[in-house]
Point group: C2
Chain length 433, copies 2
C-alpha cells in the first residue's frame, strides 16, 4: 500500500483519483441488443442468455419453456437453504424493515397564505425492476436491500431479474430470500438482456418505471441507455470504495479487517486510510498483510490493496476535509470524538461510527441499505432508501377567498412574463367567481 | 380540438400519446461544444454565445471583459423593475419559502436491535447550477422556483446561468429576483455552452454537482450528456402538459382558461380535458375558442389546441384511471368530491383541486414548485422540492453489546456470500473486543 505523509492540498485530487473507465465502446453492443429485445421479446432475451451465461442443453430447454422461476423451484429452494442461513436472513430482513419503515413521510399541510393550502404526498412507483447480478457468490443480501423498500413503499409490480446458472436455475438462497421478501415474479435473465427486458417489456417481463441494482459495466451502460427510453434508474454505478478515518484510539486489526472487507469485493475496489496517528498507520499496514493471506479471495483483495492509499495528516480538520473531497461510498470513523465529527461530514453514502461498527454490519444486517453511490456520486446522490421507490406529488387547494388574497400577485407576474392566459385564469375566477 | 366519446381502453395509449422527438442528431453537436469548453473555458463559452445569441459588437466587448453580472448591473436592474412587480415577486418568494422550508426532515434515530442505532441525515448538495432560459419572456418565476430551495437547503455554491440579450445584458426582473433570493453569481451564458460551463467549470463558472432548470432541446441533450461527466440533473425534460378532470360542477370558462394557460407555453404543449359531463365538454370547447382569440400568444396556443383532446368518459373511475395512465405534469381536478379522488391519484406532478385553484397559482405564487416532470416521467420522478437539493447520508453506531447481538447474523450471511473479510471484521471485534 502506498503511504503518503502530509500530502499538500494541491495533490489531493491526484491522490484521490478513482480508476475510471470509458464505456462508450460498449454502447453500440447494448443498443443493438436492446433493439432485438424490443422487437423479439423473450426469444432475444434467451438468445443472449445462451450466449453470455453458458447455459447447457438441458438449461436451454427449460428456459425456452419459461424464463420465470416456477413455484416448484421456489419450494425446492426452501429445502436447500441451511437453517442457520435462513435464520440470519430473517434477522436481517426484520432490521431492514424496521429502518426503512421509519422513513415513511407524514403529510404536512402548509397554509402559505390564508385560504392557500399546499402539501406533498408520496406515492409508490408502480412498477419497479430489481437486478441481482450472478457470478461466484449468490447476492441474496441485495435481494433484501432492493426488495424490502419496494415492498414497504407498496410498489404493485415488482420484478426481479437474475442470471441463471448452466442448468438454467437460480441459486436457492436468492429464491428463498425473494420469497421471504414477498417477490413472486423472478426472471431468469441477467446482464444487458435483463435490463432490456425490463425497459421494453416482453411476453413475461413487465415494462418497469424504474430499475434498481448493481452490475458489471454492461449492466451499467444498459441502465444508462434505459433512461433514454423513459425508465428511471437508482443511480450511476462504479467500483465500490471505503475511506477509514482513524485516530490513536482506533484498533489496527479492526481497521485492517474493514479495509480488506472492501478490497475483497473486486480488484478495482478502492481502499483509503486517513490517520492522524503514524503508529496506527504502520500497525494497520502490518495487519493488512497478515489478514490478507488468510482470505479465500486473497488474489482479488491483493489487487485492490495494491492501488490503495495510507494517508497521514496532521490534524482532524484535514482528515475531514480530505474525506469530504473524496466523497466516499462507505466512511468508517474510528475516532474517539465521532459525535463531533458527524455534523462536519458533507459527502458520504453510509457512515460507520466507532470501533464496533464494521462496514459489514451495514452490508448485511444492521438495517441500513447497502446500495450506495460510488465514484464521488455521494456529492449529489443518496443511497437507496424508501424514497427511491416513491415519488412526491404536490397538491394544492385554494379557496375563493384564498384566490382573492393571492390573485393580484399571480396576475402581475403572469403579465410580466407575457403569459395572458395564465393571468386570465385568475382574473376570470375573481370577476366571475 | 378533437372530441372523443367513451374511448375503449385499448385505444387510450394511442389517444394519450405525446409528441416525441428523437434527439440523437443533436448529441454530436453538444459533444463537440462540450469538448471545446472543457479545453478552452470562457473563450469557448463566448464563442457560442456570439454564435447563437446574436450579440452585437458592444455586447461582445462587454462579454469578453467578463461573463459575470456586475454589482453595477444589479443596482441598475433594481431601478428598472416596476414596484408592483417587485411586490408580487416578494409575496411569491415568501410563499415558496414557507412551503419548501416545511419540507425539512427531522433526524429520527432507529434502534433496529439493542445496541444497533441507525439514522439518516440530509446534507445540502454543495455546488448547484441553475439554468434559466432566455427567449421572449424573462422567466424570473423560475429563478424563485430553482433558487429558493437551493438557499433553504444551504447549498454553498449557487451559480445561475442565463443567456444575455443583444447588448450582452440580462433582463432586470431576473437580476432583481436572483438578488432577492440571495444568488450572487450570475453568468451571462445560455444553451449548450452554459450547461458545458457548469459541467466542466471555467475560469469564472464553478464546476457543479447538479444542474437544475428547463430549456430547449439543446439544453435537454446537454443536461443528459453532463450526467456522463459525473453531474446529476434535476429530471429529464419534455414539453409541458395539463390534464383537467371536470364533472358537472366545473365552470367551463375556468376550465378553458386553464387549458389555454398550458397551451400558450408552446406549440408542442399538450392539453387534455377528461369530463364525465358532455355539457361541460361542449361548453368548454366554445369557451376555448372565445378566449383564445384574445391572447397575445394566440398563434402558439392555437397550435397546441389543435393537438389537444376533449375526452368524455362515463364515470369517475374511468377518468381517474385515464389520468393515472397519462401521468400528467399538471392535473386539475375540477370536481365536487376532489377529496375522495386525491388518494386515488397515482401519477402526477402537481395537482390543483377545486374550482378556485388555477394552475397559474402553482406556476407563480402559491408556494409549490413549478419545475415538474413531463412526458410521463411523473411515474417515477418527483418535481423539484427541497430534497432535490440535498442528499441523504446513513449513519450507524453499534455498541460492543450491539455487535454481540448482531454479529452471528452478519457472519453467517458473509460466509454464505463467500466474503471472508466481511466475516472477519465481525469475528475479530467479538473475539478481541
Amino acid at each position: 500500500m502506498e503511504k503518503i505523509f502530509n500530502p499538500a492540498k494541491s495533490t489531493w485530487s491526484e491522490i484521490l483519483k478513482r480508476p475510471t473507465k470509458e464505456l462508450y465502446e460498449i454502447e453500440e453492443t447494448v443498443s443493438a441488443i436492446f433493439k432485438e429485445i424490443k422487437q423479439e421479446g423473450n426469444k432475444a432475451v434467451n438468445k443472449y442468455t445462451f450466449k453470455f451465461d453458458g447455459v447447457d442443453a438441458h438449461g436451454k430447454e427449460s428456459l425456452q419453456n419459461t424464463i420465470l422461476v416456477s413455484e416448484q423451484e421456489i419450494k425446492e429452494a426452501e429445502l436447500l437453504v441451511d437453517d442457520k442461513l435462513k435464520k440470519a436472513i430473517l434477522v436481517a430482513k426484520a432490521n431492514i424493515l424496521k429502518f426503512h419503515d421509519a422513513q415513511k413521510l407524514e403529510k404536512k399541510l402548509v397554509e402559505t397564505m390564508p385560504g392557500v393550502v399546499c402539501w406533498q404526498e408520496t406515492r409508490a412507483i408502480e412498477k419497479v425492476g430489481l437486478y441481482i447480478p450472478g457470478g461466484s457468490a449468490p447476492l441474496f443480501s441485495s435481494v433484501l436491500m432492493l426488495g424490502m423498500p419496494a415492498i414497504i413503499a407498496g410498489c404493485n409490480e415488482i420484478v426481479l431479474c437474475t442470471p441463471p446458472n448452466k442448468e438454467g436455475k437460480i441459486n436457492p438462497a436468492i429464491l428463498f430470500t425473494a420469497t421471504q421478501v414477498g417477490i413472486t415474479k423472478i426472471v431468469k435473465a441477467g446482464g444487458i438482456q435483463a435490463i432490456g427486458a425490463m425497459t421494453f417489456g416482453t411476453e413475461t417481463v413487465p415494462q418497469v418505471n424504474k430499475i434498481f441494482g448493481p452490475g458489471n459495466q454492461y449492466v451499467t451502460v444498459a441502465k444508462q441507455l434505459s433512461t433514454k427510453h423513459g425508465v428511471a434508474i437508482d443511480m450511476p454505478a462504479g467500483p465500490s470504495e471505503v475511506l477509514v478515518m482513524a485516530d490513536k484510539t482506533a484498533n489496527p486489526a479492526f481497521v485492517a479487517a474493514d479495509l480488506l472487507s472492501q478490497a475483497e469485493h473486486g480488484g478495482d475496489s478502492q481502499v483509503i486510510l486517513v490517520s492522524t496517528d503514524k503508529n496506527i498507520l504502520a500497525k494497520t499496514e502490518v495487519e493488512v498483510e497478515k489478514q490478507l493471506k488468510q482470505l479465500s479471495r486473497a488474489d482479488i483483495a491483493q489487487q485492490a490493496i495494491n492501488n490503495s492509499k495510507l494517508l497521514y495528516v496532521e490534524n482532524l480538520e484535514e482528515a475531514i476535509e480530505l474525506s469530504n473531497e473524496y466523497a466516499p461510498e462507505h466512511l468508517i470513523i474510528s475516532m474517539a470524538n465521532f459525535e463531533e465529527i458527524v455534523p462536519q461530514i458533507k459527502n458520504a453514502g453510509s457512515v460507520f461510527l466507532g470501533n464496533y461498527t464494521p462496514e459489514s454490519a451495514g452490508d448485511y444486517a444492521s438495517g441500513t441499505n447497502h446500495t450506495l453511490p460510488t465514484n464521488g456520486f455521494t456529492r449529489a446522490y443518496s443511497g437507496v432508501n424508501l424514497s427511491a421507490y416513491c415519488k412526491t406529488i404536490t397538491f394544492q387547494n385554494i379557496s375563493k377567498q384564498g384566490l382573492q388574497n393571492l390573485g393580484e400577485t399571480i396576475e402581475v407576474m403572469a403579465e410580466a412574463e407575457g403569459l395572458d392566459a395564465h393571468k386570465n385564469a385568475v382574473t376570470l375566477r375573481i370577476v366571475n367567481g
